[in-house]
């Protein structure tokens, strides 16, 4: 079971995870990560923009890579774009597998790639206006763990 989506409106991860888990009967474990807009001091809103011709195909390529690297029964990967408020979910990745290390590893792998190798651009609104978020060195180090 493979479910890859870009959403431009708020979503409720709990409504995705139950059906995803049920769609993979016989699984041994499901690992799920939900990322939310942090309530950082002074941040009023966050906007994620993307480039449609690359972003969703890129997420499908990432899912292909996860299925190649880990022994998975199912993968759910849902990412928001557009304007979000603190506390709103941005991303939900869930992996179902016979063995826990595959499920945990696949979620870790997908999250690292979504953070620093997927076609999203992020800006924050503060009292003095909008600010683009630069890529973080830490994200690139996280990604490097999967290379070579």
């Amino acid at each position: 079971m493979r479910d890859i989506r870009l959403l431009d409106a708020p979503f409720f991860p709990g409504a995705l995870i139950g059906p995803f888990s049920n769609a993979n009967p016989g699984l041994g474990g499901v690992c799920t990560f939900v990322g939310e807009v942090r309530s950082d001091t002074g941040v009023e809103a966050l906007e994620l923009s993307h480039y449609a011709p690359l972003t969703l195909p890129g997420m499908h390529q990432l899912a292909d890579a996860a299925f190649e690297r880990f022994t998975l029964m199912g993968l759910l990967m849902v990412h928001r774009v557009g304007m979000m408020r603190p506390g709103e979910p941005i991303v939900c990745v869930s992996a179902a597998a016979l063995h826990r290390r595959d499920a945990l590893g696949a979620v870790d792998f997908c999250m690292d790639h979504l953070k620093s190798a997927a076609w999203f651009w992020k800006r924050e609104k503060r009292a003095d206006g909008w600010h683009w978020i630069e890529p973080r060195a830490q994200d690139h180090e996280d990604l490097a763990r999967w290379q070579g």
């Binding site: 480039y51 991303v91 651009w121 992020k122 683009w132 994200d139």
Partner: protein, 83 residues
Amino acid sequence: MATVVLLGKLADLGGAPALTVPLPLAAGLDWAGLKAALPAMLAEAIEDPRVRVAVNGALVPNKHKLQAGAGDEIALLPPVSGG
């Protein structure tokens, strides 16, 4: 004409999320031609080696060898900061 789509902070430098660029009749648009048609600050910013270019949704391996024609969509993609 070609459409230039500006992502991330390049949209701020271009003043809009997309620009249209006139094409010389019967000639394609190359990297130098593209830069000449863009606002100076944007033209400078896209020389950053981390800025990637896609034509009609396909990444260009070497942006300096860009070749675009009438009706093409050229996307200028700064470093991502997603997730």
